[in-house]
Symmetry: none
Subunit: 152 residues, 2 copies
Amino acid sequence: MLKMRKTIVIYGLALAVLTLLLNVLEYKFFIRDLSMEVYMGLIAIMFTIVGIWVATKIIRRKTETVIKEVPVLVQQSHFELNEKELQRLGISNREYDVLEQMSQGLSNQEIADKLYVSLNTVKTHASNLYIKLDVKRRTQAVQRAKELGLIP
Amino acid sequence: MLKMRKTIVIYGLALAVLTLLLNVLEYKFFIRDLSMEVYMGLIAIMFTIVGIWVATKIIRRKTETVIKEVPVLVQQSHFELNEKELQRLGISNREYDVLEQMSQGLSNQEIADKLYVSLNTVKTHASNLYIKLDVKRRTQAVQRAKELGLIP
DNA sequence: ATTCTCTTCATACTAAAGTATGATTTCCAG
DNA sequence: CTGGAAATCATACTTTAGTATGAAGAGAAT
């Protein structure tokens, strides 16, 4: 609002200066000889320019901010482990580790290497997992685990 | 640019109308009696308003577009098959059938029974799939296929 | 007509997965 | 301190998965 007042002051001054200028021109160069239409046209154009200038001064600060909401697909960033299900099914820590690696598509041997245990150990954990998840194969285990929110 | 031309036309018309109006006023109501300053002031104010109007018409198009990225969790509720990938990888119809059943956690034998083909046929399709998907195991194949949008 | 892909299937393997059982150690709770 | 769960591993075995190779019919494309 402070700037508004400033704009009005500037506008008033500009008007005064132009009026003076026109008066000076009027008496010094006999512009009165020109037809009224041309005279008015000049003033009109001048003040249209002034108007545009004023408008830009005012409106520049009132730029319409169009907030365009662009939907961004987020790949499952919100996974939260369903610990209740884990407990309910009685899945142990190590079994869960194996399940995780399984869901990454690793073979039993690769899981064994990653977890620093023997192949047989992984097989045992896997077998126990299948019983607890009530499935027969690892592909089903991964499917079921995802359904139950045990893995992302 | 089309809109610019339209604005100019409107402006020209407005100027003409106002000039005419002033001429009519001039001869009918003896406005000439008013001092030149007041007369000019009125014209100035009028055309300042016109200028502002023109300016708003022009400037309104300078809207600041703030692109706000809204994260949208897509729970893959509506799956749309990525046929381009299927073609790119050269996966045949039958191979895709096997892939689908595979992702359901079925064994090769179960898939064979479901598709009314022999176990060996399923194995062949599976093997070819692994080559095309560049994976080694069915678990990885399912994973990869999901990433590529081949299966839900 | 013949080349090519898809589909089917077989045989013969190798590799991996999965089951069953038992043993050992560690660690926690009753 | 002791019974039980958890974790580890082994041996032995069965079942599935996966590879390699070849073959043959069907249909589309050239």
